[in-house]
């Protein structure tokens, strides 16, 4: 490609993505200057033709474009997306979940990408996965209940601990603490930290009389999580596109970012509200778009991103992720009538009365309710043509001006009032 052609492409007023496509298409092809000019001209022309028209009701189109294929989607909640081992909610339930802006999705998962150092090596990836996957104490040794002495004995397996890169000290230290903090069980005495090297831990219940208590304690000791993050129940390591990627069941973005070896720029979760709190609202907007697009794509449904962008922008407009529905956007509208027509009709009316709300009748529902044109599309154009009386050239009765007004009994009346209305509002009537 000639440099002047490249320059010409870069200088035209078209989106960067189109420029890239154009360069990509022309690369290595044989063409003349005239042909190039023709292509560039046509590209520009077409770009100008595809502009969105003012007054277009883009919101309704977006809602329809996402809602209509909803009928074609499957209900089946569980699907195995990519990774056979991990269940993910997909289809319509997932789409509803995204639009509901739930605090926690029904199947939180993460895709953890790794740093340069770790991504190429299976063992290194495994190391990271151990730091993330919640591992209960019983995975690190045998736990026995000593009924005679009323105690729970843990024999730590040194080999396992070494393999999973965790020192005996940390286990001894964290286990009792976690039982107290996370599992809220306090009826035991801290095991002595003296002879760690033997790999033996002894838990004594405070109440030495009850076997039930002893079994309770054993249960807690067995399941206390000593390594990894509490929220992440399972991690699967997979090789994809030449690198190792961790898929998790459960999500905790903030803590995963702290783990060494994690590539924080690419790692993501399907928990949108978590993204909003950790990475901010712009990231949450992206997450909504990506999640919704992936859900639709998985079902083989083609939807333009622009529709999803609009929905995401609407949801994130105020700096927090808001639900599509009663407790979010629809419930916080300015118009009383619009809210009343959506859900919980009576309460909205009662509240509007005591707080002296005023409905300015800007929106669609309000104007439909009072029976006047809505301010979208052709209803939004405030343009009035002055009537010109054209004398009728054919047969003509004396003293009879031809009325060129449109057909319909009362059209004339409404036009006059239209003019008055506009004049009253101080609108400029284009000449």
């Amino acid at each position: 490609m000639k440099p002047e052609h490249l320059n010409a492409i870069q200088e035209t007023q078209i989106p960067p993505k189109t420029k890239e496509q154009l360069i990509d298409k022309l690369e290595g092809k044989d063409y003349s200057d005239a042909q190039f000019d023709e292509i560039l001209l046509r590209t520009n022309d077409e770009y100008q033709r595809t502009r969105i028209e003012p007054c277009e009701a883009v919101g309704v189109i977006a809602a329809q474009s996402i809602g209509e294929p909803g009928t074609q989607m499957t209900m089946r909640t569980f699907h195995y997306a990519g990774v056979a081992e991990i269940n993910v909610t997909l289809g319509l339930p997932r789409l509803i979940e995204i639009m509901d802006a739930r605090k926690e999705p029904s199947t939180p998962t993460m895709t953890v990408f790794l740093n340069d150092e770790y991504r190429g090596d299976r063992d290194k990836a495994r190391e990271v996965s151990w730091q993330i996957e919640a591992a209960p104490l019983h995975e690190f040794g045998d736990i026995t209940i000593d009924m005679e002495n009323m105690q729970v004995i843990v024999h730590l397996n040194k080999a396992v601990c070494d393999k999973r890169k965790i020192s005996l000290e940390t286990i001894v230290e964290t286990a009792p603490k976690k039982i107290k903090d996370k599992r809220h069980y306090r009826d035991f005495e801290d095991p002595p930290t003296s002879d760690i090297d033997s790999g033996e831990l002894i838990f004594l219940p405070k109440d030495r009389e009850s076997y039930q208590n002893l079994f309770h304690l054993a249960e807690h000791v067995r399941n206390v999580i000593v390594q990894g993050l509490d929220d992440i129940e399972r991690v699967v390591v997979r090789k994809e596109g030449g690198e190792y990627i961790l898929y998790t069941e459960g999500s905790n973005l903030k803590d995963v970012f702290e783990v060494e070896g994690v590539d924080t720029t690419r790692t993501r979760t399907n928990n949108i509200s978590e993204i909003a709190s950790v990475l901010g609202i712009e990231a949450a907007r992206r997450a909504i778009i990506n999640e919704a697009l992936d859900t639709l794509k998985e079902q083989g449904i083609l939807v333009d991103v622009r529709h999803l962008m609009l929905v995401a922008d609407m949801m994130c407009m105020d700096g927090e992720v808001k639900q599509i529905g009663r407790h979010g956007i629809a419930g916080e509208k300015e118009s009383v009538l619009s809210r009343a027509a959506f859900e919980v009709t009576v309460n909205h009316l009662l509240d509007a009365a005591v707080t002296n709300e005023v409905d300015e009748l800007n929106g669609v529902t309000e104007n439909v309710i009072v029976g006047q044109p809505i301010q979208l599309g052709t209803g939004d154009v405030k343009l009035i043509a002055r009537q010109i009386k054209v004398p009728f050239s054919g047969e003509k009765k004396p003293n009879c001006d031809v009325d060129e007004r449109p057909i319909g009994p009362d059209e004339s009346k409404s036009q006059i009032s239209n003019e008055e209305r506009l004049a009253g509002e101080g609108n400029v009537v284009p000449a």
Binding site: K17, K25, T43, A63, S65, M314, V346, T355
Partner: protein, 898 residues
């Protein structure tokens, strides 16, 4: 009739007792409605001052007839105040937040400022109950405050502590009202206005004084709002609201009498409570903790709240959704001879519906013949008639056999006569099928009046409506004004909606037989004689045929590709892969075994088969390219052409599918048998491994889950293999294969199930597990895990299912049905919510997206300002098309020059 005035805004507020009395035309004191003569009691609930509903009577207030009188409010003076149920929460809040003694806010001015902001700029939050600490002394007068208890629905009480004991003391509505009256008023001594204290709570005391939430007067709605109906037996049946008002007045009068007679406190309290109950249920009959008032039949009454609420309530049922005239509905049926933009309308409907036309000099003669033809148009051959003539004084004259001549004489141009004429060919109407899930569910069609009783439409417009002809009905609306017709023709018409704004591709295109037909025509190479060519192109307007491809024995032959090329635009250049393409690793291009490499140069189909990918709805590559290169009109012409061509071509060979098309030879059956036995044994082997405890579980799964997954896999593979065997035997001469290949309908899976093996039935993605104790059906042993015991159907549909298989098939089939039922309601609600959230958004003149209130949502629509409908599958510019068009064009020109 359009309303001459525009509603600017709507203010909401509370009615004060004073206002209620002012707007009232009559004080109502009689609990009865009509006397024995059927005449309303004066000062009764049906008082003639409140408006009239019986025809013939005149309203005593406005002296208008029933049709013109809007009705007037009356009022009831309540013996004692009662609480408005809707405001109990507000009352509770006010009682807790304001001093019981001096009526001041239980916060110091500084504390208020912290929450609300400074006095002259109330920018902060609204005060809530939580901002005021419980049971503290009033910071203004020092009076101790007590805990306010609230019991649903309307009981308030105060817990005071006397001598160390808690004493609960009931607050009557009168007590509460007295307290509320003290809130936020001007202090008579100091002259300080405390109304800001109410404003801090978000209340506006000028519009809504807190004490007005406790009613002393009740407005009586006009009779027009609660009309009584006369039953067949001549009895009057009153509206639910009237019933409730009768109850209120009856108790109210009894209350008054008792009060005047000085009845004991206990009786007064009982009556007060009863009055409260009636007023409560009058306002809302679904209050928690309050038994609903019932009709004599036991049906709960529909009172004020119930009238507004819900899907069929006033808001959603009557205000947001309105009924219309000039609409028709009937069954739809296909007619491939219509253009996509047309709709066939039965004569009976065309004669019933009308379009108003103003009489002018230009159209008078024509309209006169219509009026003369009258309301009956017996057959299509007769001229179009008219139903009504509207005189300049707005009187309608119904045309009937008797008055046709006189009315025809009457009509004059330029004076305001309007003729309501019948529909005729070419009129534009709106056509709709429910559910209207997207905007293409309503499109503008041109009418074609036809015999028969169904609406006819070209099958190519089925996809946007999601219509089929298994008994679907559709609606038709006739726009009545010139403005509406212009919008219908320019914005809503079918040809403007070929592209879907959802993904920027064509949504209208060939379906089913269109695709089979065009596939049969264009696949590989065939030669046609002249008469066949002319037969195929019968519906296409063309002057000359191209040069014949070959001449044999003096007979001219044209290729199938030549025939298709005739309907293509002459400067179309494109290359793509058909839907029968198998995505081979190395594409053999023009030499493709399946003829799936489509190449069009200068409007000539060089190679490739035309199928779903080229002309189908949702995919239609050629269609899409034509829209981008030319315009919508060309595209809709092209659709008309190829649908007709393909229907003709499918008729040349004939196309059918029968039970013997699923026949396989013994050899294939043996192969299938073999595969299935192998799979069955494989499953049994795996089960054995599992039972011996030798199965290595997958990470994170139990051994049992692993086994299930393996079994599913093995059986799935077995079914696919039987399908392959069937496929090898059945070639393109089999109609089902042809349909699957071309993308017309069905898939190879369907054929596999018919000829090979139906396969595993599943519930929630797993093998069927439920049933009797430890087994699915009594035909199996307990704990059996084999393939047949859990829903594997090894027979084909043709071969027939055995009884257990039949059961499993029904189980699997039911899941599908339940799924659809649940899904429709869920996705419907999702869509309603989304529409409600986004409906007010529009693109402003500066490309920003704003709400109608003016808030900016996006600075540039979709980040690049591209309309998804005009985009090429999401891209603002179809670069490939442009490059292909320019380079191919020039290349061939050079070739010619050489």
């Amino acid at each position: 009739m359009p309303s001459p005035k525009r509603v600017g805004k709507i203010d909401f507020g509370l009615l004060s007792p004073k206002e209620i009395r002012t707007m009232s035309v009559r004080k109502i004191i009689w609990a009865d409605t009509y006397d024995d003569d059927g005449f309303p009691y004066p000062q009764g609930l049906m008082d003639l001052h409140l408006g009239v509903i019986d025809p013939g009577l005149r309203c005593k207030t406005c002296d208008q007839k029933a049709s013109d009188c809007p009705g007037h409010f009356g009022h009831i003076e309540l013996a004692k105040p009662v609480i408005h149920v809707g405001y109990t929460r507000l009352i509770r809040k006010l009682l807790r937040v304001f001093c019981r003694n001096c009526g001041r806010l239980l916060l110091s001015p500084n504390e208020v400022e912290k929450v609300v902001g400074t006095e002259d700029d109330l920018t902060g939050d609204i005060l809530t109950e939580k901002d005021v600490k419980k049971e503290r002394d009033c910071p203004h007068c020092g009076a101790p405050q007590f805990k306010i208890n609230f019991e649903k629905p309307t009981t308030f009480s105060e817990v005071s502590i006397e001598e160390g004991k808690k004493i609960e003391h009931k607050l009557t509505p009168a007590d509460i009202r007295a307290r509320l009256e003290r809130i936020g008023v001007r202090d008579p001594k100091t002259g300080v206005d405390y109304s800001y204290e109410l404003k801090a709570l978000g209340l506006n005391p000028d519009i809504a004084r807190p004490e007005w939430t406790i009613s002393t007067v009740l407005p009586v709605p006009p009779v027009t709002m609660r009309p009584s109906i006369i039953l067949e037996n001549g009895q009057r049946s009153e509206d639910d609201l009237t019933h409730k008002l009768v109850d209120i007045i009856r108790i109210n009068q009894r209350f008054k009498e008792n009060q005047d007679a000085g009845a004991p406190q206990l009786i007064i309290e009982d009556l007060w409570e009863l009055l409260q109950y009636h007023v409560t249920t009058y306002l809302d009959n679904e209050v928690a903790g309050c038994p609903p008032a019932r009709h004599r039949s036991g049906r709960p009454l529909k009172t004020l709240s119930q009238r507004l609420k819900g899907k069929d309530g006033r808001f959603r049922g009557s205000l947001s959704g309105k009924r219309v005239n000039f609409s028709a509905r009937t069954v739809i049926s296909p007619d491939p001879h219509l253009s996509v933009g047309e709709v066939g309308v039965p004569l009976a409907i065309a004669n019933e519906m009308s379009i108003p036309v103003r009489v002018t000099h230009q159209n008078m003669e024509e309209l006169k013949t219509m009026v003369l033809a009258g309301p009956d148009r017996p057959t299509l051959k007769h001229p179009c008639g008219a139903n009504y003539v509207i005189r300049p004084d707005k009187r309608r004259i119904k045309l009937a056999d008797g008055n046709l001549e006189t009315v025809t004489e009457m009509i004059e141009p330029g004076t305001g006569y309007v003729v309501e004429r019948h529909l005729r060919d070419g009129d534009i109407v709106l056509f709709n099928r429910q559910p209207s899930l997207h905007r293409m569910s309503i499109m503008g069609h041109r009418i074609k009046v036809m015999d028969g009783k169904t609406f006819r439409l070209n099958p190519a417009v089925c996809p946007p409506y999601n219509a089929d002809f298994d008994g679907d009905e559709m609606n038709l609306h006739v726009p009545q004004t010139e403005e509406a017709r212009a919008e219908a023709a320019l914005l809503v018409s079918v040809q403007e909606n070929i592209l879907s704004p959802r993904f920027g591709g064509p949504i209208i295109g060939g379906i089913h037989d269109h695709i089979s037909g065009i596939f049969m025509l264009t696949n590989k190479t065939r030669w046609f004689k002249k008469d066949d060519v002319v037969y195929l192109l019968q519906d296409y307007d063309f002057d000359t045929l191209p040069e014949p491809d070959k001449v044999e024995n003096g007979i001219e032959y044209w290729t199938n590709k030549q025939i298709f090329s005739i309907i293509l635009p002459k400067d179309l250049n494109m290359v793509f892969k058909a839907s029968s393409c198998q995505n081979c690793t190395t594409c053999s291009k023009e030499e493709c075994e399946r003829d799936a490499y489509v190449k069009i140069i200068n409007g000539d189909l060089i190679s490739g088969t035309i199928d779903k990918k080229a002309i189908g709805a949702f995919d239609g590559q050629i269609l899409h390219r034509i829209i981008r290169l030319y315009d919508m009109r060309n595209a809709s012409n092209f659709i008309d052409c190829f649908t007709k061509l393909s229907i003709r071509s499918i008729m040349i060979d004939g196309f059918s599918f029968g039970i013997d098309d699923e026949d396989l030879t013994h050899a294939e059956h043996r192969q299938i048998e073999e595969k299935l036995t192998y799979a069955e044994n494989d499953v049994d082997r795996r089960i054995k491994i599992f039972l011996e405890g030798e199965l290595e579980p997958m990470p994170g799964r139990t051994a049992e889950e692993t086994l299930e997954m393996q079994i599913m896999q093995v059986l799935g593979k077995a079914r696919d293999e039987t399908g392959k065997i069937a496929e090898q035997h059945l070639g393109l001469e089999n109609s089902a294969v042809l349909m699957a290949r071309s993308g017309a309908r069905g898939s190879m899976l369907n054929l596999t199930q018919m000829a090979g093996c139906v396969g595993q039935q599943s519930v929630r993605g797993e093998r069927i597990m439920r049933g009797y104790d430890e087994r699915t059906l009594p035909h199996f042993r307990k704990q059996e895990r084999g393939s047949a015991a859990h829903g594997f159907i090894s027979h084909s549909y043709k071969g027939g299912l055995n009884p257990t298989e039949f059961f499993f098939h029904a189980i699997g089939g039911r899941e599908g049905l339940v799924d659809t039922a649940v899904r429709t309601s869920q996705s419907g609600y999702l869509q309603r919510r989304m529409i409600n959230a986004l409906q007010d958004l529009k693109v402003a003149y500066d490309e920003t997206v704003r709400t109608t209130g003016g808030r900016i949502i996006q600075f540039r629509y979709g980040e690049d300002g591209t309309d998804p409908m005009k985009s090429s599958f999401g891209e603002p510019v179809d670069v490939t098309a442009i490059v292909e068009a320019v380079l191919k064009e020039k290349a061939s020109e050079e070739a010619e020059a050489r």
